[in-house]
């Protein structure tokens, strides 16, 4: 009995999380300009989507920034975790506190502080500033993920590698990196997710010349969002779910 109540409750929470997304997808097939009632099934918004260059550009920009920033943040974050684990250096305390500052500062504070930095450096808001900002807020999450895996390591592994003649780089590349690979991949995925999900920081550091999806939609919300956005979101959600399930199946087959 108790177990049933528990399961029913869990179902309700999943419903709460997914219902808006499902309704959004349903309305992407609605043959009406206004989302007030159901006027019949139609694929017209999907047709419109194919010709809406601005919206498609924004979606592509979002994906580009997410993939690029996740990759660079993963490289830097992994190096940062290794540097903290392996070496002693003067700025170590400062280094650690900078990581903690980035993880813990509220997004809005990070957004406005980066805005001021870019203005001070005379950098025009756009692709580069957005990329720099996304790398910065993803980096510590990779560093923490990789560091937690490094923490459990046997120090003798490094000693053994060096006794066998590996230099610092070779030790990292051929011994450490393969061992921390799961954490590196997890860090990349986390960064990619954080970058795609971000609204607040992006809001302050990008300009009209380089628009990403959430900001395009944000600017539409006040004037009324066109149903073509529903179609785009439906495509994105479906693609996400397909990728996730495909990876689940692939992983299971590997086992």
């Amino acid at each position: 009995m108790l177990r049933r109540i528990r399961l029913a409750y869990m179902g309700l929470i999943y419903l709460f999380l997914y219902l808006p997304i499902v309704v959004l997808i349903v309305f992407s097939f609605n043959d009406s300009k206004y989302a007030t009632g159901w006027k019949g099934f139609s694929l017209r918004w999907y047709g419109d989507l194919l010709t809406d260059a601005q919206l498609l550009d924004a979606a592509l920009n979002s994906l580009t920034v997410a993939a690029l920033s996740a990759t660079i943040a993963t490289i830097l974050g992994t190096l940062a975790a290794w540097a903290l684990h392996r070496y002693d250096f003067k700025a170590k305390k400062l280094f650690q506190s900078a990581l903690i500052i980035v993880i813990m500062s509220p997004d809005i504070v990070m957004g406005v502080s980066l805005l001021m930095l870019f203005v001070a450096l005379h950098m025009d808001p756009g692709f580069v500033t957005l990329l720099l900002a996304h790398i910065t807020f993803c980096l510590p999450f990779v560093a923490v993920t990789v560091a937690s895996r490094l923490a459990g390591f046997d120090r003798h592994v490094v000693e053994a590698a060096q006794d066998l003649g590996a230099d610092e780089y070779a030790t990292f590349r051929w011994v450490i990196l393969p061992m921390v690979m799961p954490a590196v991949l997890a860090g990349w995925l986390l960064s990619f997710t954080l970058s795609l999900d971000d609204v607040i920081i992006s809001f302050f550091v990008t300009g009209p010349g380089f628009e990403i999806l959430p900001l395009r939609i944000y600017s539409m919300v006040k004037l009324g969002v066109k149903p073509v956005v529903n179609a785009l979101c439906a495509v994105m959600v479906t693609a996400t779910v397909l990728v996730v399930f495909a990876s689940q199946i692939l992983l299971r087959e590997k086992k």
């Binding site: 929470i13 500052i101 980035v102 813990m104 997004d107 504070v109 610092e168 944000y218």
Partner: protein, 288 residues
Amino acid sequence: MSRPNLFKSLAIGGTTAWLALFALLPFLLIVGVSVLTRDPASFVAPDLSLEGYRSIADPGFLQIFLDSLWWAAVTAAACLVLGYPFAYGLAKLRTRRKNLFLLLIIIPFWTNSLIRTYALIFIIKSQGLLNTSLLLLGLISEPLEILYTDTAVLVGLIYTLLPFMILPLYSSIEKLDPCHLEAAKDLGAGRLRAFWEVTLPLTWPGILAGTMLTFLPALGMFYVPDVLGGAKSLLIGNFIKNQFLTARDWPTGSAASVVLTLIMALLLAFYSGSTKGTTPRQAEDLGA
């Protein structure tokens, strides 16, 4: 320079330079600008003043500030109440597909949170799904006006932040050793008492982490009131955003950011104090 040293200096130097330039410098900038003077032409003039802090000491800002803290606290509390039984159920689930259920919590993150907030409009607007179903069921006779009210903002905040409460709760409940509960039962504790005196204290770190992860972001999520709320719903986030983008008053915006950061630091200090202080000792008491 030999190659091993080159790698070492790249690993240390590269990442240190990055963090110094994009994390520490902006942080210092915000503290610096908060004690400068506003300048319409170039944002700030290099004259020291407490103007920024004086303008956030006024009752209007204090009201926003208190409202914002209140809404963030209500959001965190609601997420805890909604999330705890869910995380508990998830942790106690006896199935091989547990990871899949966990994944289902994370999937919505791949659709941007602004899109999810916008999707909520379909549910809560006056001819939305919620009202239509309630009217059909005869539970209400007039549609509920939720959209563009404070309630809508609250629903939006809970909707966006609930997964951040569930995940840390799940991992702390998952770690619970069932022996503790058995011991409590053997010592004569009822279900409720065992939960109150064993489960709850042992999952305290998860509760705290989840509260931090929902309370702090809630203060800054300006786009939730922008999309779902009326003109009156303001969070500190909306205030800071307006200072930078509309009023162009950098010192005031920076001062508000410094205050927000201080709150965060205080909460963090409290957090690390209470997780260090209580949990291990309580775990020891229980024979861990």
